[in-house]
C-alpha cells in the first residue's frame, strides 16, 4: 500500500518525461528555436563576417558547420559543439566568458536535442518568400475574417480568450485617432453610440479612409522612417527646400497610390518612363540625407557619409535590414557583405548634388494654374522680344526701341518674380558623370585601394540572379535606381511587404508582429504569428500593394475592434499583449497631442500642406545654432495653429514640445519612436504657451456656449475633450476646483488679467477675466488628463 503512491508518482513522472520529450521532439524548429540562439551567442565569431571569424568555423551555414566538424547530425554525443557548450573548463566553454554571452541549461539542452534530431537548418524566415497560410486555403474568407481566423488559431492554442468588442465611444475614438489623428466630436460619438452596428462601423471606416486628414495621419510614420526634416542636419543645420515632399507623401496616402508606385517614385521618380512633377517630388526621398556646409569638410569624406546614409535608409525603410554594420565589415549576423553595402550605394552615384556646401534651390513646383501663368509670362517675353527684333530690323527710332526694351525687361522680371514665388523642392536629377564608388576597406574613405564597385542587388537576397545582379553578364548593362526600386517591390523580394505590414500592424496594435521593426534579420524576432504576417504580406502584394485595402482589412477585423479590457488570466498569459487577444492602450504621438488640444480649443487649422509652420517656441532655444545665428519668429494667425506634422523640423534642435513626447530628430531613419513617460511632458502640457492658449480658448468657448449653468458648461467642456459625461466624482472634483480658482482670482484680479492675456488669440466678446481664469484652470486640467492623451 505504501508503495502505491510512489509508484503512481513515478509512473506519472515517466509519463510526463515522455510527454516532454515527445513535445520537444516534435516542436524544435530551427528558425524559431535554434537560429536565435546561434545568432545571439555564436555568429559574432562564427558567422558571416569572414574577417572576424574564429577557428575558420561558421555556424550560420549547415554544410560548412558540419564539414568543419562542429556537429554530427543525429549524434549530439559526438558533436564538438555540444562538448564545448557543456564544458566546465573556462578555457574551452562556449560562448567564451569574455563574450559576455551565456547559454542557459534549457538552451543547451535544446541545442543538444536539435542535433540529435538531425540538426536541420532552415532558410531564415524573412528571406523566404511569404506564402498564404494553408489553413486559409479552403475557406474563402474576406481579409478581415482571415486576420481574425489567424489570430484565433494562435490565441486558442495558447489558452487565451478574446476580449469583447470595445464600447462604441472607445471604438470611434480609437479609429479616429488611428486613421485621421483627430478626435471625433461629441455629436459624432453620440451618433455612433446610438448605432454602432457592423454597418455603421463600416461606413465610419470608409468615411475616415476618404477623409483628407487620413493622408496626414499616415504620413507621420512614413516621414519618421524616411527621416524627413526641413534642415540639413550637420553643423550649421541650415534650411533646405523640401516640404513639398511631405505634401507628396500626404497626397499619396490620400489618393491610395499603390505602394509599389510610391516606392518607384521615391527612389527613381526621375527615371520613370512616365516621370512627372509628382514623381520628381517623390524623388526628393533621395535628398533627405544629412549634408554639411562646414568649412574644411572633405568631399571624399562626405561622399562616403552620404552613400552610407542612403544605404542605411534602403535597409531600414524597405528591407528591414541593419545594413550599417557592413559599411566597415561583413555583417556579423546577417549575410550582408561589405560588397553588398557598396553595391547598394553605387545605385545612387548618379545623383547630381553638391557634396559639401549649400543645397541647390531645387525644382520650382507648379500647380496647373501656375503652369498656365508661366506660359502666359513666357508668351509675353516672346512677344516683347519679337517686337524688339522687328523694331531693330526696321531701325526704328531710339525711343520706340527703348520702350520695347523696357517692355521685354519688364516681362522677364515678371517671369523671374513669378518663378521666385513658386515653392521649390530638392529632387533627384541623374547625371551621366557618376561618382566612382569604391569598396572602402574598414569604411575608411581615405583608403582608395578597394575595387571599383558597380550597382548590384544584395547577393544573399538574389542568389539565383547573382550574375545579373553584379552586372557581370557577357553584355553588362549597369543597373539603375529604377532597377533597385523595381526589385524592392517585386515578388522576388521577400522583405518589403513583410517590413511594411509589420509596421502597419504596429500602427494599430502598439507592437509589431515581429517586435524589432527595423530588423527582420537574424537578430530580429521571429514574428509571434508568422502566418499572420505572411498572410498580410501576400494580401498586400496581391491587392496591388494597396495600402488602404490593408488598413481597411485590419480596422474592420474583430481583432482590431476588441476592448483593451480583459480578464486577469489573459493578462497573466500574455502581459505584453503580443498575441492581440485584446487591444492595447498607448499614449498618443507628439503631433497628435498638439492637434487634439488645438481642436478642442477650436483653434486648429485644418489646412493641408504648405510650408512648415512655426508654433510658439521658448526664446533662446536656438542660441547654440550658428553659421548663421538664427532667431525664431513664431507664426501668426491660422499658421500658428497648424497640425503638429507641419512643425518646422530643425534636426539639431527639434521643437522642444515635440521632443518631450518622443518625436525623433529625423537625423536617422526611425522605424519606431520610443514612448516615454517623463516629467517634461507634464511641463509641456501645463506650461507650453500652445497648451495654455488652448486651455484659454477652450474656456472661452465654454463661456460663450449656449449653456448657461455652471454644470451645463462643465458638461459641455468635459464632452468636448473626453466625449463622455463626467462621473459624479469627477464633476464634484472639478466644481470644487472651479470654486477654489474662482475664489483666488477674485482676490487677485491682476493675475486673472495676466492669465487671460496668454497667447495671441482673442475671443470674440470680452469675458470677465476672473470667471474666465477659473475656467481656464478647468480646461487645463482636462487637457492634461491621461485619458485625454491616450488612445485605447
Amino acid at each position: 500500500m505504501t508503495l502505491r503512491p510512489l509508484l503512481v508518482f513515478s509512473l506519472a513522472c515517466c509519463l510526463l518525461c515522455l510527454i516532454a520529450s515527445f513535445a520537444s521532439a516534435q516542436s524544435i524548429e530551427f528558425n524559431r528555436d535554434i537560429r536565435p540562439l546561434l545568432s545571439e551567442n555564436c555568429f559574432y565569431c562564427h558567422g558571416p563576417d569572414a574577417e572576424h571569424r574564429q577557428a575558420d568555423l561558421r555556424l550560420d551555414l549547415r554544410d560548412q558547420a558540419v564539414s568543419a566538424g562542429a556537429f554530427q547530425p543525429g549524434n549530439a554525443a559526438e558533436s564538438k559543439l555540444i562538448d564545448r557548450i557543456f564544458s566546465a573548463d573556462p578555457q574551452l566553454v562556449m560562448p567564451p566568458g569574455d563574450s559576455n554571452k551565456k547559454l542557459s541549461e534549457t538552451q543547451k539542452k535544446l541545442l543538444k536535442d536539435w542535433i540529435d534530431q538531425g540538426g536541420q537548418y532552415q532558410t531564415h524566415w524573412s528571406y523566404q518568400r511569404p506564402k498564404r497560410p494553408d489553413s486559409l486555403a479552403k475557406a474563402s474568407l474576406d481579409p478581415s475574417s482571415s486576420i481574425d481566423a489567424l489570430v484565433d488559431e494562435l490565441i486558442t492554442s495558447k489558452g487565451l480568450t478574446r476580449s469583447k468588442r470595445a464600447d462604441p465611444r472607445s471604438l470611434i475614438r480609437r479609429v479616429y485617432y488611428d486613421l485621421i489623428g483627430l478626435p471625433p466630436s461629441p455629436e459624432q460619438v453620440a451618433a455612433f453610440e446610438a448605432d454602432s452596428s457592423v454597418k455603421a462601423y463600416q461606413e465610419l471606416v470608409e468615411s475616415l479612409l476618404a477623409n483628407p486628414h487620413f493622408g496626414e495621419r499616415m504620413a507621420v510614420d512614413w516621414l519618421d522612417v524616411v527621416r524627413f526634416a526641413d534642415t540639413i542636419g550637420y553643423h550649421s543645420d541650415n534650411p533646405r527646400n523640401i516640404w513639398p515632399y511631405r505634401d507628396y507623401v500626404i497626397a499619396s496616402f490620400n489618393s491610395g497610390k499603390p505602394f509599389d508606385r510610391f516606392t518607384l517614385e521615391q527612389i527613381a521618380g526621375d527615371l520613370l518612363p512616365d516621370s512627372d512633377q509628382e514623381a520628381l517630388i517623390g524623388s526628393a526621398f533621395n535628398r533627405l540625407i544629412l549634408s554639411t556646409e562646414e568649412g574644411g569638410a572633405q568631399p571624399k569624406d562626405y561622399e562616403a557619409r552620404m552613400l552610407a546614409d542612403r544605404v542605411r535608409a534602403i535597409g531600414t525603410v524597405w528591407l528591414g535590414q541593419t545594413t550599417a554594420c557592413a559599411q566597415c565589415h561583413d555583417h556579423k549576423y546577417d549575410p550582408i557583405t561589405l560588397k553588398d553595402f557598396y553595391s547598394l550605394g553605387a545605385f545612387f552615384a548618379d545623383i547630381q548634388e553638391p557634396i559639401v556646401g549649400a543645397r541647390e534651390e531645387g525644382l520650382a513646383i507648379m500647380e496647373p494654374s501656375d503652369s498656365e501663368r508661366l506660359s502666359q509670362l513666357d508668351a509675353a517675353i516672346n512677344e516683347a522680344s519679337q517686337h524688339l527684333k522687328e523694331l531693330e530690323l526696321k531701325e526704328s527710332d531710339t525711343s520706340d526701341s527703348q520702350a520695347a526694351k523696357d517692355r521685354l525687361e519688364k516681362a522677364r522680371k515678371q517671369r523671374e518674380a513669378f518663378t521666385k514665388s513658386l515653392p521649390k523642392c530638392l529632387v533627384t536629377k541623374a547625371t551621366v558623370n557618376k561618382r566612382t564608388v569604391r569598396l572602402l576597406p574598414r569604411g575608411n574613405w581615405m583608403d582608395e585601394s578597394g575595387p571599383v564597385i558597380k550597382p548590384a542587388l544584395p547577393e544573399y537576397l538574389v542568389p539565383s540572379n547573382s550574375e545579373k545582379a553584379s552586372g557581370q553578364q557577357s553584355n553588362p548593362v549597369e543597373l539603375t535606381r529604377l532597377d533597385l526600386a523595381r526589385w524592392l517591390v517585386s515578388p522576388e523580394n521577400p522583405l518589403t511587404a513583410r517590413v511594411t505590414m509589420n509596421r502597419l500592424w504596429k500602427h494599430f496594435f502598439a507592437m509589431g508582429l515581429s517586435k524589432v521593426l527595423d530588423d527582420l534579420g537574424t537578430q530580429g524576432e521571429m514574428p509571434v504569428n508568422p502566418k499572420l504576417l505572411d498572410y498580410l504580406a501576400c494580401e498586400f502584394i496581391d491587392s496591388g500593394w494597396d495600402y488602404k485595402h490593408m488598413i481597411r482589412s485590419i480596422v474592420l477585423s474583430r481583432t482590431y475592434q476588441q476592448s483593451c479590457e480583459t480578464d486577469p488570466a489573459n493578462i497573466a498569459l500574455d502581459p505584453l499583449n503580443r498575441l492581440t487577444a485584446r487591444q492595447s492602450p498607448f499614449r498618443m504621438d507628439a503631433e497628435f497631442i498638439r492637434d487634439y488640444a488645438l481642436q478642442y480649443a477650436g483653434l486648429l487649422s485644418t489646412k493641408i500642406g504648405g510650408p512648415s509652420a512655426k508654433p510658439y517656441q521658448p526664446e533662446g532655444y536656438w542660441d547654440s545654432l550658428n553659421f548663421p545665428t538664427r532667431s525664431y519668429t513664431p507664426d501668426k494667425g491660422p499658421n500658428q495653429y497648424r497640425r503638429g506634422l507641419y512643425t518646422w523640423w530643425q534636426r539639431t534642435f527639434l521643437h522642444p514640445s515635440l521632443l518631450a513626447f518622443d518625436a525623433p530628430s529625423r537625423e536617422e531613419c526611425c522605424a519606431e519612436r520610443t514612448r516615454s513617460n517623463i516629467p517634461q511632458q507634464a511641463l509641456v502640457l501645463l506650461n507650453d504657451p500652445t497648451y495654455v492658449e488652448a486651455a484659454k480658448t477652450l474656456a472661452s468657448r465654454a463661456l460663450e456656449s449656449k449653456s448657461t449653468s455652471v454644470n451645463e458648461r462643465l458638461d459641455w467642456m468635459f464632452a468636448q475633450v473626453l466625449q463622455r459625461k463626467a462621473s459624479p466624482t469627477e464633476q464634484e472634483e472639478l466644481l470644487r476646483l472651479l470654486d477654489k480658482q474662482h475664489g483666488y482670482y477674485k482676490q487677485h484680479s491682476e493675475s486673472a488679467t495676466k492669465l487671460t492675456q496668454n497667447g495671441t488669440f482673442q475671443s470674440s466678446e470680452p469675458l470677465d477675466p476672473i470667471e474666465h481664469s477659473a475656467w481656464i484652470h478647468l480646461a487645463r486640467v482636462l487637457l492634461n488628463l491621461h485619458e485625454t492623451i491616450t488612445r485605447n
Binding site: G296, S624, T629, L686, N687, Q757, T790
Partner: protein, 459 residues
C-alpha cells in the same frame, strides 16, 4: 541588458514603475562588475578644438621650425580639413610654457590656475579621434559613433546606473552664454538619449529665460494655483485608473508630482545666494550670468544634489585664425573656474567620488593656417591633449606624448573609445559588457572595434 525592442509601453512601466515616483531610479545594471570609484562625471567640453600646442603640449622643435615647410614625412597622404591642398608651414607655439607642480610639468602660461592644480590632475597628451569636423567629432566624443541617433555618454551612464538625484534629471547640460566671435554650433543631439528611452536624455539648464524649458508657470498662475490643478489632475487620473487597465496611469501621476517638484527644486538649485563670497571669488563668477565660471559653480551644486552626469560646453575654441588674439581670452574664461571646480570639490570631499574631464573634440595642426586672416591652426585629429581628475585617477601624472612637432600621438595613444572605457570603468561599468539591444544588435558606447581601459592612469 533590456532593449527597447523587448519592451512594450506597458512593460516599461512594470519594470521601472516602482522607481518612477521620484527621479531616483535603479539602473539597468543590477550588479556592477567593477568597483565603483566615482558616482558621477563632470565633463568640461571645450567646443571648437582648443590648441594643445599652445596649452598643454610644449614643442620646442616646432618653435625651431617656425616658418619653415612642415616636413612631408608627417603629412603625406594624411587627412586634413581646411588645409587640404594648401602649402603646409610650421607654426611655433605662440605662447610660452612654464613648469608647474612638484614634477615641473610644463603647461601654458595662459593657464596659471590649472597649473596650480597640476598635482591633482592627470594630463593626457596622446589623445586622438577619428573625426576631423566639429559636428562628427562631437558626436564621436559623446556617443562613440559618427552616425547620429546614438545615445550620448550621459544617457548611457544614467541608463546603466540610474539616477540618485532627487527631483532633478540625471543628465544635465550647461552651455556658457556669451557668444565670443562666432562659435561653432552645438546640436542638441550631443545630449540626446538616442535609442535609449527619452528619460535618459540630457536636460539643458539655461541661465537666461526659464532654467528648464517650460519650467515656469504661465503668467497669472501662482504655484498655489498650479498645485490645485495638479491635485485635480491626479484625482481624476486615479479615478480613471479604477475604470481601465492601463499601468501607465500610475507613472503619469508620478511624473506630474515630479514635474511640480522640479518647479521648486530647480530654482533652488539655480539660486546661488547661499554661496559665500569666498566661494564666488574662488570661481570668479557672478551667479546667474551664464558664464563658464557660473556654470562650474552650478556643476558643483548639481554634484552635491547627486546628478549623475553633468556636461558643460564652452564654445569658440575654433582658432583657424586669430589664435594669438582669441586664445588668451578663452583661456582666461575657463582657467580659473576649471581649477576652482577641482579645488572646491576637493575641499568638500566630493572630488574623490567625482570624475572631472576637460577636453575638446579634437586638437589643432602644428601647421599654420593663414588663409583666414591672422594666423591660426586647422582642425587636427591625430593629436590632442585633455585632462582628468578625481576618484581613481592618478593625480599629478602626465600620460602619453606626441611626436616632436606635436603632429601625431606616438606614445601610449589613447582613443576616444579608450577614454570612454576608462570613464565607464571608474563608474564601475565594464564597457564591453554594457550593451543595449537596438535594431537587433548589441550596441556599446565603445563600439565594435574594441577599447582599452587605460589602467596606467588609474590609482
Amino acid at each position: 541588458m533590456l532593449g527597447k525592442s523587448t519592451l512594450g509601453a506597458a512593460a516599461l512601466t512594470t519594470l521601472f514603475g516602482q522607481d518612477r515616483s521620484r527621479a531616483e531610479s535603479k539602473g539597468a545594471i543590477e550588479k556592477l562588475p567593477l568597483p565603483q570609484k566615482v558616482k558621477r562625471v563632470i565633463w568640461l567640453t571645450m567646443a571648437g578644438g582648443p590648441s594643445h600646442l599652445e596649452l598643454f603640449d610644449p614643442k620646442p622643435k616646432l618653435a625651431e621650425l617656425h616658418g619653415q615647410p612642415m616636413p612631408e614625412s608627417y603629412t603625406a597622404g594624411q587627412q586634413l580639413a581646411q588645409l587640404q591642398g594648401q602649402k603646409l608651414m610650421c607654426l611655433g607655439p605662440l605662447f610660452p610654457f612654464q613648469k608647474t607642480g612638484t614634477q615641473g610639468t610644463e603647461i601654458s602660461t595662459l593657464l596659471p590656475h590649472i597649473g596650480s592644480i597640476i598635482d591633482d590632475i592627470c594630463l593626457v597628451r596622446s589623445m586622438t579621434t577619428d573625426a576631423i569636423n566639429h559636428d562628427p567629432a562631437h558626436m564621436f566624443m559623446n556617443t562613440g559613433s559618427q552616425i547620429a541617433g546614438r545615445p550620448s555618454m550621459g544617457a548611457w551612464v544614467n541608463y546603466g546606473l540610474g539616477s540618485i538625484a532627487e527631483n532633478l534629471p540625471g543628465f544635465v547640460v550647461l552651455v556658457s552664454t556669451g557668444k565670443g566671435r562666432s562659435p561653432q554650433p552645438i546640436a542638441a543631439r550631443q545630449w540626446s538619449s538616442g535609442f535609449l528611452p527619452g528619460r535618459f536624455q540630457g536636460v539643458q539648464l539655461r541661465s537666461q529665460g526659464e532654467a528648464v524649458l517650460y519650467l515656469n508657470n504661465p503668467p497669472g498662475v501662482e504655484a498655489s494655483q498650479q498645485a490645485l490643478d495638479i491635485a485635480a489632475i491626479e484625482k481624476l487620473n486615479r479615478e480613471h485608473a479604477m475604470r481601465v487597465q492601463d499601468p501607465e496611469i500610475e507613472t503619469r501621476i508620478a511624473q506630474y508630482e515630479l514635474a511640480f517638484e522640479m518647479q521648486t527644486s530647480i530654482p533652488n538649485l539655480m539660486d546661488a545666494s547661499d554661496e559665500t563670497e569666498e566661494t564666488l571669488d574662488l570661481y570668479g563668477c557672478l551667479p546667474g550670468d551664464g558664464s563658464f565660471a557660473s556654470n562650474c559653480l552650478l556643476a558643483r551644486r548639481l554634484a552635491q544634489r547627486g546628478v549623475r552626469f553633468i556636461q558643460l560646453y564652452h564654445r569658440d575654441w575654433d582658432h583657424h585664425s586669430l589664435l594669438k588674439e582669441e586664445l588668451p581670452l578663452r583661456a582666461k574664461e575657463v582657467d580659473q573656474p576649471s581649477a576652482a571646480l577641482i579645488k572646491d570639490l576637493k575641499r568638500l570631499g566630493l572630488l574623490e567620488e567625482t570624475l572631472v574631464v576637460w577636453s575638446g573634440e579634437f586638437g589643432r595642426t602644428p601647421m599654420s593656417q593663414a588663409n583666414k586672416g591672422t594666423v591660426g591652426r586647422d582642425h587636427h585629429n591625430k593629436s590632442m591633449s585633455m585632462w582628468m581628475a578625481g576618484g581613481g585617477i592618478r593625480p599629478g601624472m602626465v600620460y602619453g606624448s606626441t611626436d616632436e612637432l606635436g603632429y601625431a600621438a606616438c606614445e601610449k595613444i589613447c582613443t576616444v573609445h579608450d577614454l570612454h572605457a576608462t570613464m565607464l570603468a571608474q563608474l564601475g561599468i565594464q564597457h564591453d559588457a554594457f550593451t543595449y539591444k537596438f535594431q537587433g544588435l548589441d550596441f556599446k558606447l565603445t563600439g565594435v572595434e574594441g577599447a582599452r581601459v587605460i589602467d596606467e592612469i588609474l590609482s
